[in-house]
C-alpha cells in the first residue's frame, strides 16, 4: 500500500519512528509532518537518535489558536493528500494534526488508520479528548494499545477493524533500553552530574497545566519534593515555560529546568531517576515499562492500566503537594531509591507486544 504517514508533534514523530521500520518493510511510505511542533533543534540529533527518516513534506504549520491551527492544517493537508493520492492515511494519538488529517482523509474518501485508538479520559474539556473521539469514529482501522481501549471503542459501537495490537512505544522502548543502561547515558542532561536514583525526573506539557493556578500548583509541588540531595530535573515544553516565565513564577534552586529531552535521553532519565513526575500519558507508560515509580500530575488519565491494581507503581496525585510527598515516601524513599534505580538500570527488561509488526501486517 501507499501510505501517507502524518505526524505533527514530537510524541507523534517518536511513534512514527517506532512504526516506520515495520511499515517500510511492507508498504510505500510518504512521511508528512504538519510542523505543529517543528523547530530546527529537532531536525538533527532528534531524527538521528530515533533513526527516523526526514519527512518527505513539511507543511510548516505551528502556533495560532486551536481553530487557526486546525484550519491551516485542513487546507494544507487537503492539497497534500490530493497530490500524494495515498491508499490510506496513518495518524497517531490525539493532536490537532491527528484531527485535521483524519477530517481531510474522510472527506477525500481515503481510509484512515488510527494508531493509539480508543483512549478516553472521559473529560471533554481536554481538546485531546475531542480529537480522539472524532478520529476513532472516522477511522477505518482502530489500532488499540490496551484491552481498556478496545472496551472504550466497543462502548461507542466501534467493533469492526478494531485491533488490539499493543503499544508501538513499547516496541521502541524495548529496542532502545540496552543503549541507556549505563549511568553515562545521563551525561548530557541538565549539565551532567546526575546520579542514578538520586534525582527526580519531571515533565509538564499539557495545556491544562499552563493556566496560572495550575502553574503555581505544580511549581509548588515540585518545590515541595525537590531536595538538595534529590534535585528535580524538569523538562518543560517551550509553551509551558513561556507561561511560567510570564507569570513570574520561579522554581526553587533544587529544580533544574531544561528543554524537552530527546527520546533516548528521556528514556535514560526515566530509567535512572528515583521517580518520575509527569502529566504526559507517554512518559507515564514508559516509566511503567521501566519499573520506575511515577506520579501523575493530572486528575484523570486515559491510561488506566498503569494506575490500577495493587502492583501499580503509578499514582494520580493531581497538583496536590502533600499527596506527592506521601507517594514518594512510599514508592521511592531516599534510603532505598538509589539501590532500586541501579537494580532497574541493570536488570529491567521490556517484553514487546509486536505492535508495529501487527499494524504493518493488518494494513493490507
Amino acid at each position: 500500500m501507499r501510505l501517507a504517514n502524518v505526524v505533527g508533534t514530537r510524541p507523534q514523530l517518536i511513534k512514527a519512528a517506532a512504526l516506520q521500520p515495520a511499515l517500510r518493510q511492507r508498504h510505500d511510505e510518504v512521511f508528512i509532518d504538519t510542523g505543529q511542533h517543528w523547530d530546527e533543534a529537532m531536525a538533527g540529533t532528534f531524527f538521528r537518535e530515533l533513526g527516523l527518516r526526514p519527512p518527505d513534506k513539511i507543511l510548516g504549520i505551528g502556533g495560532g489558536t486551536s481553530a487557526e491551527q486546525t484550519g491551516r492544517m485542513l487546507v494544507a493537508l487537503e492539497a497534500t493528500l490530493r497530490a500524494v493520492a495515498p491508499d490510506a492515511v496513518v495518524v497517531y494519538g490525539d493532536t490537532n494534526s491527528t484531527l485535521a488529517a483524519t477530517l481531510v482523509a474522510a472527506k477525500l474518501n481515503l481510509p484512515v488508520a488510527h494508531v493509539e485508538a480508543g483512549l478516553r479520559s472521559f473529560d471533554r474539556r481536554m481538546p485531546e479528548e475531542i480529537n480522539r473521539i472524532v478520529t476513532d469514529h472516522l477511522a477505518r482501522w482502530c489500532f488499540a494499545p490496551t484491552e481498556a481501549a478496545v472496551a472504550n471503542l466497543a462502548a461507542e459501537g466501534l467493533t469492526t477493524e478494531v485491533h488490539l495490537v499493543g503499544d508501538v512505544m513499547r516496541d521502541l522502548a524495548a529496542r532502545t533500553l540496552s543503549e541507556v543502561r549505563r549511568p553515562s547515558a545521563l551525561a548530557g542532561i541538565a549539565g551532567g552530574g546526575l546520579r542514578t536514583g538520586e534525582f527526580l525526573f519531571a515533565t509538564v506539557h499539557r495545556v491544562e497545566n499552563r493556566a496560572p493556578d495550575a502553574i503555581r500548583g505544580w511549581v509548588g509541588l515540585l518545590d515541595t519534593v525537590a531536595r538538595a540531595d534529590r534535585p528535580v530535573v524538569l523538562a518543560l515544553h517551550p509553551g509551558t515555560r513561556e507561561a511560567m516565565d510570564a507569570l513570574g513564577v520561579v522554581p526553587s534552586t533544587n529544580v533544574f529546568v531544561v528543554e524537552p529531552l530527546g527520546y533516548r535521553s528521556s528514556l535514560a532519565a526515566q530509567l535512572h531517576a528515583a521517580a518520575v513526575l509527569t502529566d504526559s500519558g507517554g512518559v507515564q507508560r514508559e516509566a511503567a515499562w521501566l519499573g520506575t515509580p511515577c506520579l501523575v500530575l493530572r486528575s484523570s488519565t486515559e491510561w488506566v492500566e498503569t494506575t490500577e491494581g495493587v502492583a501499580a507503581s503509578s499514582v494520580l496525585v493531581g497538583l496536590d503537594a502533600g499527596k506527592a510527598r506521601d507517594a514518594l515516601d512510599r514508592l521511592a524513599p531516599p534510603d532505598r531509591a538509589p539501590a532500586e534505580a541501579a537494580r532497574r538500570a541493570r536488570e529491567q527488561t521490556i517484553e514487546t507486544d509486536g505492535a508495529t509488526e501487527s499494524i504493518a501486517r493488518l494494513l493490507a
Binding site: 484550519g71 474522510a106 459501537g157
Partner: protein, 367 residues
C-alpha cells in the same frame, strides 16, 4: 456569565430548519444571535428570502464563501472561534450536515461550549458522502441531539451517545413547509413555466450524479426516458451543469431547464407535480408531507422514514422509467402513514427543550 445562544447557519436548508426554532425561542424570550458563515451565498438568499420565510436576518456574516471542503471548514472555524472567544454563548445550535455544521461543532467543543444538533441521528451509512462525515462528528460532539424520526435514537445510542442527550422532537423543516403552504400556488407557477397539468419536477446536485461522467450519462439517459412519459422542469445552477451538458443534457419542450427557484416558487411547482425525481435530502421529506410521489436517485438515504412512512422510493438511474410508469398508473396523491411529529410544531418542542436545558444548567443540575 454567557446569556445568549448562537445559531450557526451556512446554507439555505439551514435557514429553513432554523426559522421555526428561532421564532419559538424568540416567543419564549430567549436572547439569541444568528451567525451566518456565508458558506453558501446567492441572490436567492437576499432580504426577500428572509422576509418571505419570516426568518430574521443574520446578526453577522463571516463571509466564508465557496472553496474546497478543507478551505470552507477552515475559514468557518477561524471566524466562529473569533466570535465566541469574544462573546461566548450559553449554547451553540447547529443544523443539518453542511461544512458549517461541522466547523461549529468542532469549535464549540474545543472552546468547551455546549452544542445542540438539530436533525441529529441521520445516517446513510455511506461515508463517501461528505455530509455523512459532518453528521457523525456533530452528533458525537453535541450535548443535545434533536431527532426528526424515532429510529435516530437507536442509531445514536449505538455510537455511545447517552440516552439523556437525545430528544425526539419532529422535523422543523416541515414546520416551515406547513407554515408557508398557504402561499403555494401551483396553478400560477405551472403556467408561468408553460407546463401542462401533468408534469414532473427534477432536482440534481449530488457530485456522485452530476460530476462523474459515467454517472452523468446514466442520469441524462434516465431524464430522456422520463421526459418521454411526462414533461419535466429541472432547476439547475449554471455552475453545476457542465458535466450534465457534456453528457447530452439539453433544454427542450419536454425537459425545461430553468434557473434555480425561490422557496415558495419551487415548492408550488412540487406541490402540483405528478412526481418528483431528486437526489437531495430535504425534498424527500417535503414530498412525503405534500403527498407527491418521490423517486430518489441514490443507492441509500439517511431519511428512511420517507420510504416507510411517506412517498419516497430509492431508484438507480436505469430504474427511473419503470418506477415512474408505476406511479403514473397509481393514485394521484398517494399518502403514507406520515412520520410521527411532522406536524408543524417541532420548532416549539425544540425551544421548550432548550429553555428547560438552559434552566437546568443555570440551576447546576445539567451535566
Amino acid at each position: 456569565m454567557p446569556h445568549h445562544l448562537a445559531h450557526v447557519i451556512g446554507a439555505r436548508p439551514n435557514f429553513i430548519k432554523a426559522a421555526p426554532v428561532i421564532r419559538a425561542l424568540r416567543e419564549r424570550g430567549v436572547p439569541q444571535r444568528i451567525v451566518h458563515t456565508g458558506q453558501h451565498y446567492d441572490d436567492r438568499m437576499s432580504d426577500v428570502f428572509f422576509r418571505d420565510l419570516e426568518i430574521p436576518t443574520p446578526d453577522v456574516n463571516l463571509g466564508v464563501g465557496s472553496g474546497t471542503h478543507g478551505e470552507q471548514t477552515a475559514a468557518a472555524m477561524v471566524g466562529l472561534e473569533r466570535e465566541w472567544v469574544a462573546d461566548p454563548p450559553a449554547l451553540v445550535v447547529v443544523y443539518g450536515d453542511v461544512n458549517s455544521t461541522l466547523a461549529a461543532s468542532l469549535v464549540a467543543a474545543k472552546l468547551g461550549l455546549p452544542s445542540a444538533h438539530v436533525e441529529a441521528g441521520l445516517r446513510s451509512f455511506d461515508r463517501s458522502m461528505p455530509e455523512e462525515i459532518n453528521r457523525i462528528v456533530s452528533d458525537l460532539l453535541a450535548e443535545l441531539l434533536f431527532t426528526t424520526s424515532p429510529e435516530a435514537e437507536g442509531l445514536l445510542l449505538a455510537t455511545g451517545v447517552p440516552a439523556g442527550r437525545i430528544r425526539f422532537v419532529g422535523n422543523p423543516m416541515i414546520d416551515t413547509l406547513l407554515g408557508q403552504r398557504a402561499k403555494f400556488d401551483s396553478g400560477v407557477e405551472r403556467e408561468r413555466q408553460g407546463l401542462p397539468e401533468t408534469y414532473g419536477v427534477v432536482t440534481l446536485h449530488r457530485p456522485s450524479n452530476v460530476d462523474d461522467e459515467a454517472s452523468a450519462r446514466a442520469v441524462v439517459g434516465a431524464l430522456d426516458g422520463l421526459s418521454a412519459l411526462l414533461p419535466l422542469v429541472i432547476p439547475l445552477h449554471p455552475r453545476g451543469r457542465a458535466t450534465l451538458d457534456a453528457a447530452g443534457l439539453h433544454d427542450s419542450e419536454r425537459l425545461r431547464i430553468v434557473e434555480p427557484l425561490g422557496y415558495v416558487t419551487f415548492l408550488s411547482l412540487v406541490a402540483g407535480a405528478r412526481l418528483v425525481l431528486t437526489d437531495s435530502g430535504g425534498i424527500q421529506e417535503e414530498t412525503t408531507i405534500l403527498d407527491i410521489p418521490c423517486l430518489t436517485m441514490r443507492p441509500n438515504t439517511e431519511r428512511p422514514i420517507t420510504v416507510t412512512h411517506g412517498t419516497n422510493r430509492l431508484v438507480a438511474p436505469d430504474e427511473v422509467v419503470a418506477a415512474a410508469r408505476e406511479i403514473l398508473a397509481g393514485p394521484l396523491r398517494p399518502t403514507g402513514p406520515r412520520p410521527p411529529l411532522w406536524d408543524g410544531h417541532a420548532g416549539e418542542r425544540i425551544a421548550d427543550e432548550i429553555v428547560g436545558w438552559l434552566a437546568a444548567r443555570a440551576a447546576g443540575t445539567a451535566a
